[in-house]
Subunit: 411 residues, 4 copies
């Protein structure tokens, strides 16, 4: 990465700001700023990005919303405890910077988020404010953060727990009806996630949905982003088993080996796992994983994805996949893999990448969905491409375009 | 695949014609001819190839060289016995066709092939013929096969057991010196595999090296192929663990996840495994597997490939790979996979593909190495590309070119 | 095994006689009789049993009940097709013997077996017979088989698909009430499996429950067996994942390593899998697997067993278990295993063992449950011992006792 | 465990006292003393031992020999760094106690230990002392430790890196000849490990060989232990893959399932792995693993154990085992497992157990080898029993005997 100009600061607004991904994002960026951690895991630090100028991670400023009450430092300690793999002395070295973020960690919403999520927000009364009052408060958070920090740009990224699945209604499809419901204070299945995004777009912030929660980028809000000239992208960050799946399935296709069954079994023990243990929230998650295979192969093999909560694992997700395939002479053969990785540690660098690329897109005047970022998502918007390698090619081509455009437009 | 013209027949000359891959090739092609088996595993039967005309597998004629004495049917029975996964009733239905091939299964050579291979050729005296006499006999086999069968084309493909590694000498690099040594009858490390290829090129047959044996396509012979206007390609068919490796490694690169170690452990029980149990032959094999990772990643992680002979497995190769990688905050994570597949069943359809594509190239007037076939090989000639997906793209682009050139030039 | 006297024949009456386990039992015993297959997998053919005389497997005669209509040979063909691992030429060599069994394959019952099982019995009307008429018909099958074949003994063994779980009522606990309900023709949750066992005990046949179906050996029937002087044993043959679990869990106990989580994931594609896909039947199965860990360890770790239907696998069950454990200094470590085996091939030899050992017990005048056979069952009756090695010791001690008693009492 | 008398202190003398197992032993015992860590992993803390009185781990005093120069605290830090799984705050809480041990960490010997081990002792000249001077110095270390600490007992346990294999000569078999060589200062393949043990036995200390090094308990020294009335035991602590193997192999035997192949592949990255990377040292290790299967099964399946050095793994050993077995009808099936554990964390609690049990044996007047401790070793002395469950039974019976003898004899 080329040196960026020193006085441009980009803000990162984390929805679910005390969750383990968000905390890892902050710890990583601050550690990176002090030269304490390597850039491993950040796509935008690869060789391929060396010719373009991106917002400087060392200059990132952090704030966010969360429904829990805690300090950033305490949440970070919990995360380090769970991921024994991180050097515990790191936290001590960035404690003041973590403490500073506390005042920008604002209360979140639980509107229509389902029982499992609401139970996390213990103590906070559901509130008597109208939808509009809620939106206005969210907007004021973003505005004052931007002003006080003197930010050039601010990107809002959803990292909160998965909401239940959503049956799209009229007011989820049309921004006019959506705004009408808010004006009338009719909460009819308007989700917290939609309110976050709406407030963000009103404040001219790009929105990234790193979760499968369907409310974040409902059609009405994607439309609205277009009208506001703002880029958005989602859904559901591709970090673990699905990443491997989207890299391996094309291999079978390239060899004309028919996949008979692909059975995936995920176990994990963090809060994400606990929330997903609730079947209404799990349904959302499994749905966004489910299109990957048929999207790549052109047919739908027998395939199921199981997600189970195993508390002792903490944040170390373990996935076992069994792939049964048929080859020459009808012979059945198999590949099985076990993936053992820390979800938060895989997700966090991608969050930093997405903030940089969303801000770049905004500076370049791009608006609406960003299919060139498909490789970051399980259920990418604006594209039918699920093949990880083709998705990667799309990003490489975009970067070439940026480079040939001058590469510095974001300034 | 479009219907091909009925009266064009392509010959397939199999070096190691009684080995399990060769036998599977013949059983599969004959089963395919009778509509008894699906086309699974043949790349050239994929959708991507539907617009071009390729030699018709149903019209393939088979012959070959082997140092063992056996009938094709008996060898096929042994193969079916080992791969319990094949429908055993298939053999009965193609027995007459298999028997017909017997008279075209000619004696092979063991020159400088090492102790392990020579011991397979029990009973056959090393011979008192000169190098030139040997070459001439090989040529006469090809010539009479071509004539008697009325073949439009004949492709020679090496499937024989792996020879020991080779220190290139002057006469391996220059066709003039190579021919001089033959004229002088100085066998100084001229391998059986080189003599096969030399005879093939003199008889205007494309040569494919599906083995890692370095003698098959020494620089002198690649040069000679260019002068003869013939296409050649190798080395070492990419069927199992390496296929998975070349599909997965790019995923880590795309995510900027540093691979710390990639340890591969292969166990298998067929004759290939037995020959590889001999360390001089194993060295050749491991060498051709070894460039894949560094070629894809741009750095060399700690990596070793172990191959061990476990007789009870027969042809069912089992590979366990352990991949240790480093992500954000320096965290170490892992992916392990177990691949359980039948080597012969993965290899055989690729052999059919390569015959079709080599014959196509010859008809199109292409000569020298064919880097667009890199995806078929562990150590592809004429390219530095080891990424399976990029290799696949190279093939797709070639096919587009053929299509836009008219696609029927091979006639 | 010592030579047994030639003229004593033991009958084996298979409930679910056309299912894959039953068919494998018959194919194996007939193959064994002709010296076509080894004795691998039969516990009673081990060295430890060489000093006692057991019913001769070569003299076994087979009959059974099934709700499906098929020939034994056709069912055997289907089984061989699914388990590609069996030598297909075997069937041809025992075809006449298999055909002879057809006339002893009698219609079974579906009373209170649940929707999934009833749907297998397509075409057969539920019937208008009374409970007593049903029992009498079952008895007549056993009686005529015994007479016609001139059997010394006849053992009834339940191998039928798993019935739904059962809430025990008064008449399941007391034989008097049970008989009263039958007399009154009140079917109130009296299962087919209970009627089979009741008929068997009336005909003085030992009963083995190789399934988890709770009706087979309800308390009332265990009592009744005692009164009749007949041995019985169950429940649920221990063949795969649970076998490994009961062998491995004691190792952790012996090292004072605390098991934190033991998550098991089973996939299989045979009819057993299909029936278990129905959640009411699965509940029964999972319950009988569930006591093993706490029974061995003395505490209950986080543990779940998942069973999923993956059609392409056929009878090849694949189980992945993940064991998370805590050692010194509180360190978390793991063991994972993948078990790939054919359920029917693991179960069938145990069925032959159990027939021999039940007949031995009857001849020795033992009655009631046989805890010395605990090692054969997932949920053994009459013991709290789930440790496979201790269970094995119990069997060894029993055999020593038999030997010191003279070992020939069964004659 | 019952409360032990407060004023009895047992010394633990660690050969290889700065190695990762030794350091883990000390950290664990000190953490245990302060109530900072659980007793997980210590066999003698199981329920089965609750009725007998054993030396109190909280009263253990530590010293040892090592060829490296380092502080105990620094070695502990290195260990914690590698095993990220340990709570890093633990070290700070026991730092003073660790520092106190430094003065009892005395220089070790490298006599005839091979190149790999000698290279660790950088800077220390091979020395000009005679064998007798060396022995006398070792004795003085033990004597002054015992006196200064006022120890009731002192147990010497070998944890040093594996020495090369040893061809037994006359003086390894006879204590008289062994002592003669020392008197004559003829070092002819007298190993450092033999000198350690000899000094220990002269000082009336029981000796435990937790390593495979053959010099530690050569026949001459076992004899000598008998004459001195001292208990000894070895060889090679059973911690990982072999533990699992010795627990699983009996399961196959109990089911009469023939093991065709058992292929084990171990990768690890600690110093142990580095030393084993040297083939002369590896040979010793593999030999002691090799008798386990044939000892349990009564026949020798195809089996090999591979050990490879993969630096990135540190102390986290990963073992993949593939077990191919044959069942009913000759069907081939498989079990594979992956064991991921920290060698030092598995070994350290066993070291504490062995010290307690060796001291108990000494107090009870037992001398010579202790076969009742077979379950702790890969190649147990004085027994042919390799079945982990039978070995466990032997220990349980011994404990019963101690209990019925009064259980307090060690005082």
């Amino acid at each position: 990465m080329k040196e960026s100009k020193p006085h441009k600061k980009t803000g990162v607004w984390l929805v679910g700001g005390l969750g383990s991904i968000a905390v890892t994002v902050m710890v990583g960026a601050l550690g990176f700023r002090k030269g304490l951690v390597p850039s491993s895991g950040m796509v935008t630090e690869s060789e391929a990005f060396s010719q373009i100028e991106l917002p400087d991670v060392s200059e990132f400023e952090f704030g966010g919303w969360d429904i829990r009450q805690d300090t950033v430092y305490a949440a970070a300690q919990k995360m380090v405890q769970e991921c024994r793999t991180i050097d515990p002395s790191l936290l001590g070295k960035i404690a003041p910077e973590l403490d500073e973020i506390n005042r920008w960690m604002k209360p979140g919403l639980t509107r229509n988020c389902g029982q499992a999520i609401e139970s996390l927000a213990a103590g906070s009364a559901p509130g008597t404010r109208s939808l509009l009052e809620e939106v206005n408060e969210l907007r004021s958070h973003l505005r004052s953060f931007k002003e006080e920090k003197g930010l050039t740009g601010l990107v809002v990224i959803n990292l909160a727990s998965t909401e239940p699945s959503l049956d799209l209604q009229e007011h989820h499809e049309s921004i006019a009806l959506f705004e009408a419901r808010i004006a009338e204070n009719k909460a009819c299945d308007i989700r917290a996630s939609s309110l976050y995004s709406y407030a963000a777009l009103l404040e001219r912030c790009p929105v990234i949905n790193f979760t499968p929660s369907p409310g974040t980028l409902i059609p009405a809000l994607i439309d609205f982003a277009g009208h506001q000239g703002l880029p958005v992208m989602g859904n559901d960050g591709k970090t673990g088993e699905t990443l491997v799946k989207s890299a391996l399935a094309p291999m079978f296709l390239s060899r004309n080996l028919e996949i008979l069954s692909w059975e995936g079994f995920n176990i994990l023990g963090n809060m994400d796992g606990e929330i997903l243990n609730t079947s209404e929230n799990r349904a959302t998650k499994i749905k966004s994983k489910d299109k990957v295979l048929s999207g790549i192969l052109g047919y739908q093999p027998h395939s199921r994805v199981h997600i189970n909560y195993v508390p002792s694992l903490g944040d170390q997700k373990t996935a076992w996949d069994f792939i049964h395939f048929q080859g020459f002479l009808g012979a059945k053969m198999s590949l099985q893999f076990t993936w053992q990785a820390y979800d938060s540690l895989l997700a966090a660098p991608l969050v930093l990448d997405l903030v940089r690329l969303a801000q770049l897109a905004k500076e370049r005047g791009e608006s609406g969905v960003m299919p060139h970022l498909a490789s970051f998502f399980k259920a990418p918007l604006g594209t039918d491409c699920f093949d990880h390698h083709q998705q990667t090619d799309m990003l490489v081509q975009y970067i070439s375009q940026v480079t040939s455009d001058g590469g510095e437009s974001w300034e």
